[in-house]
C-alpha cells in the first residue's frame, strides 16, 4: 500500500469525520479548528502505534492517552472543559463499525461471531475509556508538579 493510501487518506478522512461531528456537537467557531485537529492527531497516533506494536487494543489505549493529553492542553489554552476537545478527538476511534457488526450478528442469530465481535467492540471502547482516564491523570499530575514548583519558588 502506498504512503498516501496508508496514511494520508485515513488521517484526512478522520479529520473530516471529526469536523462533521464537531459541527453536529456544536463546537464553537473559535475551537473548531483545534477540535478537528485533535481527531487527526489521535488517528495519526493510532496508525503510528499500530505500525510499531501491531496490537489493536494497546494502540487504541495509547492513542486515547494522546487524545486526552491534547484535549487537556487545548482546554488550558482556551480555558474550556477538556470534553470540548476530548470528545471530538476520539471520534475516529469510536468503534461504530464493530458495534454495528456485532449487533447485526445478533439480529442474524450468528452467536459465535456475535461473541467474537462483541468482545472486540467492548475492548475498543474500554481501551478508549482507559486511555482518556490515564491521559487525564497525567494532566493532573503535571498540574500538581507545576503548582508544587511554583509554591517552592514563592517560598510557601
Amino acid at each position: 500500500m502506498s504512503f498516501v493510501q496508508a496514511w494520508v487518506v485515513p488521517i484526512l478522512c478522520a479529520a473530516l469525520g471529526t469536523l462533521g461531528f464537531s459541527v453536529l456537537f456544536h463546537v464553537g467557531k473559535k475551537h473548531l479548528f483545534f477540535s478537528t485537529l485533535g481527531g487527526a492527531v489521535a488517528w495519526a497516533g493510532y496508525l503510528a502505534f499500530f505500525a510499531c506494536i501491531g496490537n489493536l487494543y494497546i494502540s487504541y489505549t495509547l492513542a486515547s492517552v494522546v487524545a486526552a493529553i491534547y484535549a487537556h492542553l487545548m482546554a488550558r489554552v482556551f480555558k474550556t472543559p477538556a470534553t470540548l476537545f476530548a470528545l471530538p478527538a476520539t471520534i475516529p476511534m469510536i468503534p461504530g463499525e464493530a458495534f454495528f457488526e456485532t449487533m447485526q450478528f445478533a439480529v442474524l442469530g450468528d452467536w459465535v461471531n456475535f461473541a467474537a465481535m462483541g468482545v472486540r467492540t467492548l475492548g475498543m471502547a474500554a481501551a478508549i475509556a482507559i486511555g482518556l482516564i490515564v491521559g487525564g491523570m497525567a494532566d493532573r499530575l503535571q498540574f500538581y508538579l507545576i503548582n508544587a514548583r511554583r509554591q517552592k519558588r514563592n517560598g510557601i
Binding site: F21, H26, I128, I133
Partner: protein
C-alpha cells in the same frame, strides 16, 4: 437570600450541563463547588444520566433537597463551555439567586444551531467515514446524500415525538433501502461501504464509550443505563438495515 431559589439555580446549571453532554463527575463537582462557594455547610449531589438530586445544608436547622428529572440529552459543547465559564464566574462573584437564574437563562438563549450546517455536517460525516472504511468516491457521494436524508428524517421523528427505538428502525431501514436502490441503479460500487458512513451517523458508539468510562469512574448506575441505551438503539439500527436487505435486496 432565598435559599430555595438559590438551590434551584444551582440545579439549573447542573441540569443544563448534563443535558448538553457533561460527564457525571463534572456535573456533581460543579454543583458542589457552587454550593460551597456560597458558604453552604455541606452539599450532597447525586447524579445519574436521567436525574440529579441535591441536598444542601444551609445551616444546622435548614436542609433543603431538590431533584430534577432529565429526559432528553443532546451534545452541545459550546453551551457546555459557556455553562462552565458561568459556573466559574458564579463561584467568584456569588450573585443572588435571581441574577443566577437569569444568567443561566441568558446562556440558554445564546447560539442556536444553524440548520443547513447540520445537514452539511451529516453529509460530511457519512462521506468521510465511507472513504475512511475503504469506500470509493462514488460510494462516499451516495452515502453523503443518504446522510442528509437521514438527518431530515431524524428531525421529523423528533418533531412528531416518535418512539426512539421505532424511529431508529425506520431510519436504518430507509438508509439501507436508499443504498440498495443506489446499488441497483449502479450509482455506487459497494453496498457495505456506502452504508457504513451512514451507520456511523446513527450508531450510539459514543454512548458505549461513555458507558465504559463511567464504569471506570465508578458511576455504575449511569454506566449501566448508558450501556443498555447503546445496546437497545444499536440493535434497532442493525435490525433496520437487515430488514432493508431482506425486503429489498
Amino acid at each position: 437570600m432565598n435559599h430555595n431559589k438559590l438551590l434551584s439555580g444551582m440545579l439549573d446549571i447542573g441540569e443544563q450541563m448534563l443535558c448538553c453532554g457533561a460527564e457525571i463527575s463534572r456535573v456533581e463537582d460543579t454543583v458542589e463547588r457552587i454550593g460551597l462557594a456560597y458558604g453552604l455547610e455541606r452539599v450532597d449531589v447525586f447524579t445519574i444520566t436521567s436525574s440529579i438530586v441535591v441536598t444542601a445544608c444551609f445551616s444546622a436547622d435548614e436542609t433543603l433537597t431538590q431533584t430534577r428529572r432529565i429526559r432528553t440529552r443532546s451534545v452541545d459543547l459550546e453551551r457546555l463551555n459557556r455553562l462552565n465559564a458561568l459556573s466559574r464566574e458564579i463561584c467568584q462573584n456569588k450573585p443572588d439567586a435571581d441574577t443566577l437564574k437569569a444568567q443561566v437563562r441568558a446562556v440558554l438563549s445564546q447560539g442556536a444551531f444553524t440548520v443547513w450546517l447540520l445537514y452539511g455536517a451529516s453529509a460530511l460525516i457519512a462521506g468521510a467515514f465511507t472513504v475512511f472504511f475503504g469506500g470509493s468516491l462514488k460510494d462516499a457521494l451516495v452515502s453523503a446524500v443518504i446522510g442528509v436524508l437521514l438527518k431530515k428524517l431524524m428531525t421529523l421523528s423528533i418533531r412528531f415525538h416518535l418512539n426512539s427505538v421505532v424511529s431508529n428502525v425506520l431510519l436504518s431501514f430507509a438508509g439501507g433501502a436508499a443504498a440498495l436502490l443506489a446499488l441497483r441503479l449502479g450509482i455506487c460500487d459497494s453496498y457495505a461501504k456506502t452504508v457504513i458512513g451512514d451507520i456511523m451517523l446513527l450508531i450510539p458508539g459514543i454512548t458505549l464509550t461513555d458507558a465504559l468510562r463511567d464504569m471506570f469512574y465508578g458511576d455504575l448506575i449511569s454506566s449501566i443505563q448508558r450501556l443498555c441505551e447503546a445496546l437497545l438503539f444499536s440493535s434497532a439500527i442493525a435490525f433496520g438495515f437487515v430488514l432493508a436487505r431482506r425486503v429489498i435486496g
